[in-house]
Symmetry: C2
Subunit: 413 residues, 2 copies
């Protein structure tokens, strides 16, 4: 283990979350305190900003603004969706990265993202080792989808779950307010894993929330769906509140949402609007009841005003732990959460090899999905409930959230 002295760079990748910047705050705060780290850089737009040398000099930022990053949603440095090719297929990016790392004496690299990003991180880590350039590489987890392997849960998931559960409680009341029938279909993010959609089950803890929940883990059958809704309507004055994942699939593996791709409007272009619109249309046609399609859209991943305190604090600490581990000589790991065994909820931070998280997906366990495939079990509730506790009190200005204002001073090339 070598005592590396040099610059560090941190980059954000993939879809943002409410707390992604809390991890950035943790990384930068800790890095600025480490004597072996000689310069603290944030890359603009993930890996692309490294390839193009768009580095923000984080030492130029006010500490108060870095603190405010904890309350600021979306990726403050800018994000990117960019998948590194395998070295064998195209070594260009790798060679360029090495060139840049050498030029700035980058000895610590931190990449914040989901399973794709952990794959990128893993590839860079292996390449640097093979090239003989000493650089400790650490992944910082992030995804509202909660589908990373090797960690109990993912930073960003709990805040999205809290927003979704609260919103489902509110919409449940609103959707049943009239004495006439209404079938409400709410669409939640999560392409292949139903963790977030399942969070709508929390709306039933205190009162009448969602009636039916459809996860991508269970094959979707349109006829069964219509029958499910019909049965609920029969018992509830033609009212039914459905939660559905954007990623539900038919038994043949095709996405229910891609159904829309075959539908074009009068001008010949594909319709916007997700799976909730498709399902609402089917119910309207088959049951003749009034319908409403609700897409939680970007709000579910950026509603920092409803962030979970547990999530913000853990995301910050995940960032800090990544820096501490890297400075202590660890490389090629991702920071992960472990739930301590005691009765009180506590998080233990650990390191898992990047190869475990790269390109893998953790799904909702089959035994947590109820037999009829339209609800989740108590195990899921017990799993998620401790994570959404506490409200993070966002600083306010004019009755509105006060987000961080970074100077974003570019480092000299």
């Amino acid at each position: 283990m070598k005592d590396l002295v040099g610059a560090m760079i941190f980059a954000q990748s993939g879809g943002p979350t409410s707390v992604i910047n809390a991890s950035a705050a943790g990384v930068f705060t800790e890095a600025l305190n480490q004597k072996n780290i000689t310069a603290v850089y944030g890359a603009a737009h993930g890996i692309k900003g490294i390839l193009t040398e768009q580095f923000y000099d984080m030492a130029q930022e006010d500490r108060e603004e870095l603190e405010l990053l904890k309350y600021t949603p979306s990726s403050a440095l800018g994000s990117v969706r960019y998948k590194l090719k395998d070295y064998d297929v195209d070594p260009t990016d790798y060679n360029r990265l090495l060139e840049v790392f050498k030029k700035y004496n980058i000895r610590y690299f931190f990449y914040n993202g989901g399973n794709d990003s952990m794959d990128t991180c893993n590839k860079i880590s292996k390449f640097m080792a093979q090239s003989g350039w000493d650089c400790n590489v650490m992944g910082v987890p992030k995804t509202i989808d909660n589908d990373l392997m090797g960690t109990d849960h993912c930073p960003g998931f709990a805040s999205a779950a809290k927003y979704i559960a609260t919103t489902a409680m509110e919409v449940a009341l609103d959707s049943r307010v009239y004495d006439t029938g209404l079938v409400c279909v709410m669409e939640v993010m999560g392409r292949n894993a139903g963790w977030l959609t399942a969070a709508t089950a929390l709306s039933n803890i205190q009162g009448k929330g969602v009636d039916l929940i459809y996860l991508p883990e269970t094959p979707f059958d349109m006829d069964k769906f219509v029958e499910d809704v019909k049965a609920v309507c029969a018992k509830n004055e033609n009212k039914c509140f459905v939660a559905v994942s954007e990623g539900i699939k038919f038994a043949d593996g095709s996405y229910v949402g891609e159904f829309k791709a075959s539908k074009t409007d009068l001008f010949g272009h594909a319709q916007l609007g997700g799976v909730c619109s498709i399902l609402a249309n089917v119910i309207k046609e088959k049951l003749g009841v009034k319908v409403r399609a609700i897409e939680l859209n970007l709000m579910q991943r950026c509603a920092a005003h409803l962030a979970s305190k547990v999530d913000v604090e853990e995301a910050f600490e995940a960032g800090r732990q990544a820096v501490i581990a890297a400075v202590n000589g660890y490389t090629d790991f991702m920071v992960a959460y472990e739930r301590s065994q005691g009765e009180k909820y506590e998080t233990v931070y650990k390191l898992v090899p990047l190869s475990i998280c790269a390109n893998t997906e953790k799904k909702v366990p089959a035994e947590w999905i109820t037999e009829n495939g339209t609800n989740v079990s108590k195990e899921y509730i017990d799993y998620v409930l401790p994570l959404i506790q506490g409200k993070w009190e966002t600083p306010k200005e004019n009755g509105l959230p006060r987000f961080a204002r970074l100077k974003k001073v570019l480092a000299a090339k």
Copy 2:
């Protein structure tokens, strides 16, 4: 002025808001304290519950739960969309109402709603007077649309505005996170008045929020819209964030959103999805940029977790003032807000004749809309900012809002 002794009934009507139940709490709390009021009833589903004698006995409710109504969105008693015909056209409902009022000795009637409901209230008031049945009738205002005449603003508007402004700030950050172009079109409620859509302008106070705002007060031109977006994109790396009212109209008076009615999918039924989808599709086609349509849907009117403290307190007081006025002999009025002249924001409660509010609409003044028709002036900001101050701290259970749980004991018929 007669000293009326007898029962009271309160009913909720029209689309719910985050704070509609705060007014109910104000009405019930005050009515339960008035010695001239011998029974306190809440009607199920507005005027329909009166016609069918579905009365909840509010004295049976726990006072703590009535207090929790302040934090509970949607209409706790159930709402209705029901427009009384003119007496000349059909006297059936009027005669039935009189029968019910006599049976229960209803001497006080309170109706909570928007301009349609104030019309209903006005008609009932006039009919009871003509029939010689002494009954003081009071309207309690309610509408997120903020379009009631005779009042500075309407209960429910400020909380929706606070939700919309906060969400626009969050989505603005999220929608600009990538280094690729994106035109985001966010649709806000308000069929004929743009008060709520204009609240997205608050997202620009602290940083970069919405770029373009389209209100129903200004005739909408599709070509100009495309040019507006194109101009913003040219200056902002192909990124543009648009806020649009559901009620924007072409110069010929037809709704841009009804455009969709002519569009049917492959199965022959009309497409769901509002004006945001239509505009996003047009931009995609004309400018070839990535688009995203966001409908704030029911969330904007039921997001009690982000209610404005000012709004909740005013809504509660509006309910109280209605009861106090009625007991003091006033009838055929609506409680209204006046803004005191001092520097500090303060509300003065007053009474305006129901006829002023019945079926009229207050729109955003033309001089508050900027010349190019895509923004609002400082006057609007100064108007709305005091209203969204303060966050109402919802009581929590399990990290989720604790809504009121009413027993809803039906009074004996």
